[in-house]
Symmetry: C2
Subunit: 417 residues, 2 copies
């Protein structure tokens, strides 16, 4: 089958299945999730065989690539996926929640009720665990799902989807979960154009993938996960707290979107704070780049160019800029930031309040590491991505963000005068 | 100035102004709105002169057009606009609302706070009162606004904007309100592409305009207002209630999006109910089209084609289809409806519940006219449009829907373990 026809056929099937998912009870959905978790564990060996084939092919073409670890599955990782699905089964069902409501002067009873979106599509790269996470969140929220993973994990993802579908087909429509099997890139194009079928498309991956999807999609999209995050060390910041936060935000997991990519520091504390912070960061392997004043203060720092300020480093680089005012820091962040997570370190109440108000991002921090932006840590029990856009959902997304609402209006024959 | 440069310059100015609007108190915004209302009334004659010029030019080119009444302003209509702005000043300020929040196990205080979107753009046709409505809702919700009205009302809209800006510039940045002065259509294209400047674009007008915007925009858009609305008369429906609801939904204001455009009726009551309903509708000037069974039952009914089922009539046409089951009605509605407002007339509890659950639309009614879908009647105190999409806002939109949220996270030095 041509890639476009494959996408179209599978999207139509999933869309039809979504009308059946609306009517399922919370209990049935939870049973299906538990069956999927058991099915994953029971199918462990088949999944590992498929993953072995993916790994062999990938390592032949990309020997020693750091991506190999992200692609690799083993028994504990499959167990972790299954446990993740069990966690989702324990979360509250968002569907059916009455968000608000009223009785009008005419006696109409209006309630705004949370309902599934319909068909959610996801385009993602590398890690096969995304497959199980996304399926469980979509099914729990009453949506069908169309998955398109990276070609390097195509056998692993296919085996995972097969285990999920086969173990739950006695409880939910098998068509609810659809996996695009072709590695042909035209499949992505077909997904971007499937207006009227796909109710929400979530791209998960590097900024290249996300930019391509946002630029070209005709279906509704939520931008996720690009994090060009800044820590601003204010003139009142204490050295120890500033150093701890910057170190944690930069070093703990540098390839994650909520890690710090840039450090801004007030000129009045640059001399006292920056040398020690730089030394500690370099001790952990951080490579510093900087503005001219930073380079004059710290030796061996490369020049940070316009491109550096725009780039979401996903490695050990950190670009440093010395600023003269809080306002200069805020303007820089609002210009170059990706509206993900931004932090100030300060002892000054008023400056903390201004930073919280004026920085335009999904999560704005005072005196804490940006690494906390995460659906689990924010109490959602799960995460399907972190929205960096303003419409619909902003910040970590989980079950609630996979729903919409509709107004139900109950009358007794009212007409408008 | 070239149209693209005009749009770019004005969008940049408005975007800069939006950062100042974030910091304004509710009191200042309300004062600015009251000043605008007074300014509109004080500038009445200037606005009427500009409107006269628009009317003269339009009526010369389109003598007798029904659009003339929508374009026409007079003193009472300007008074009504001013009173509308005063109403908005009395509505609660959505900005600053703490939507939810928590303290985490780590002791982080997380609050999700409602904040302005930034720059809202609106592309609209005909009625100049939209100008005042949109400006007041955007300013109240802390957003700057970029307006692009229809060329037929360009002088009227310009005069209204001028009165609003000049009367409020001592309270809010004059750049907050920007009006595209060129009638050149390239201005619309420039707005659609202004990524990073326009945070939300709302098209208001016919389905042609809305379709063009949705297809071509690279900025975030909310689809509004296309209403291919159905009334389904169930087998258990009482004739009198069904007739009253269909008559009201079709006849009261046929050119409005929430008016009924289609009638579906169960075959078991077609013979008893349809002839009388058809007679009453025709008595009010309704032109019936129908499926073959309808045409066999009622004489003089034209054939309803595939195109009829898809079309949002904005006139006195009504297409009628006889169906054999509730399910057939729901499938038809979900296929052809524009996801705006849909109604069932029934005495059966279970069928009412199934219709409410399975029909995919912003507002789903039991035993009431679809004409009630409206921000004022739904208790919002205002309306900037009716969203027919699922993301961000669904149904009538007012102040809350012109905001987003951000997470504020207050710590005391926490880092992630």
């Amino acid at each position: 089958m041509e890639p476009e026809a494959e996408v179209r056929t599978k999207a139509e099937r999933a869309k039809r299945a979504s009308t059946q998912l609306i009517g399922l009870s919370t209990e049935t959905k939870n049973e299906a999730l538990l069956a999927m978790a058991n099915g994953l564990e029971a199918g462990c060996q088949t999944i590992l065989d498929a993953n072995r084939a993916d790994m062999d092919e990938y390592s032949l073409q990309n020997p020693g690539s750091p991506l190999l670890d992200r692609l690799m599955l083993n028994q504990p990782r499959i167990k972790a996926m299954a446990d993740g699905i069990r966690e989702v089964s324990r979360l509250p069902d968002p569907v059916g929640e009455i968000v608000d409501g009223m009785r009008t002067a005419d006696g109409l009873e209006i309630s705004r009720v949370r309902v599934p979106l319909g068909l959610v599509a996801i385009i993602y790269e590398a890690r096969p665990n995304v497959t199980a996470d996304a399926v469980s969140l979509c099914i729990k929220s009453g949506n069908s799902i169309l998955l398109r993973g990276g070609s390097e994990a195509i056998r692993s993802n296919g085996a995972i989807v097969n285990a999920l579908v086969e173990s739950s087909r006695h409880l939910i429509p098998a068509d609810s979960i659809q996996f695009v099997e072709t590695a042909d890139r035209r499949a992505v194009g077909a997904m971007l154009l499937a207006r009227g079928l796909i109710d929400l498309l979530i791209p998960r991956g590097g900024s290249g993938l996300i930019g391509h999807v946002v630029e070209n999609a005709k279906v509704p999209v939520i931008e996720t996960g690009v994090g060009n995050c800044h820590i601003y060390v204010d003139e009142s910041a204490k050295l120890e707290m500033a150093s701890d936060i910057v170190y944690n935000a930069k070093v703990q997991r540098p390839a994650i979107c909520n890690a710090a990519k840039k450090l801004l520091i007030h000129s009045s504390v640059a001399q006292t704070h920056l040398p020690e912070m730089a030394k500690r960061l370099r001790g952990a392997g951080v490579v510093l780049k900087g503005c001219p004043r930073t380079r004059a203060l710290i030796s061996g720092v490369g020049e940070a160019t316009e491109e550096d300020w725009q780039t979401e480093y996903l490695d050990m680089r950190l670009a440093v800029k010395i600023v003269d005012t809080l306002e200069e820091a805020i303007v820089h962040i609002n210009r170059y930031g990706s509206k993900h997570s931004e932090a100030i370190v300060t002892e000054d109440y008023d400056r903390a309040q201004r930073f919280l108000r004026d920085v335009d991002a999904a999560a704005v921090y005072v005196n804490a590491s940006t690494r906390f932006t995460d659906g689990f840590l924010f109490g959602m029990g799960a995460e399907i991505g972190i929205s960096t856009q303003k419409l619909h959902a902003r910040g970590p997304m989980a079950l609630r963000e996979l729903t919409t609402t509709k107004y139900l209006v109950r009358g007794k024959g009212q007409v408008r005068k």
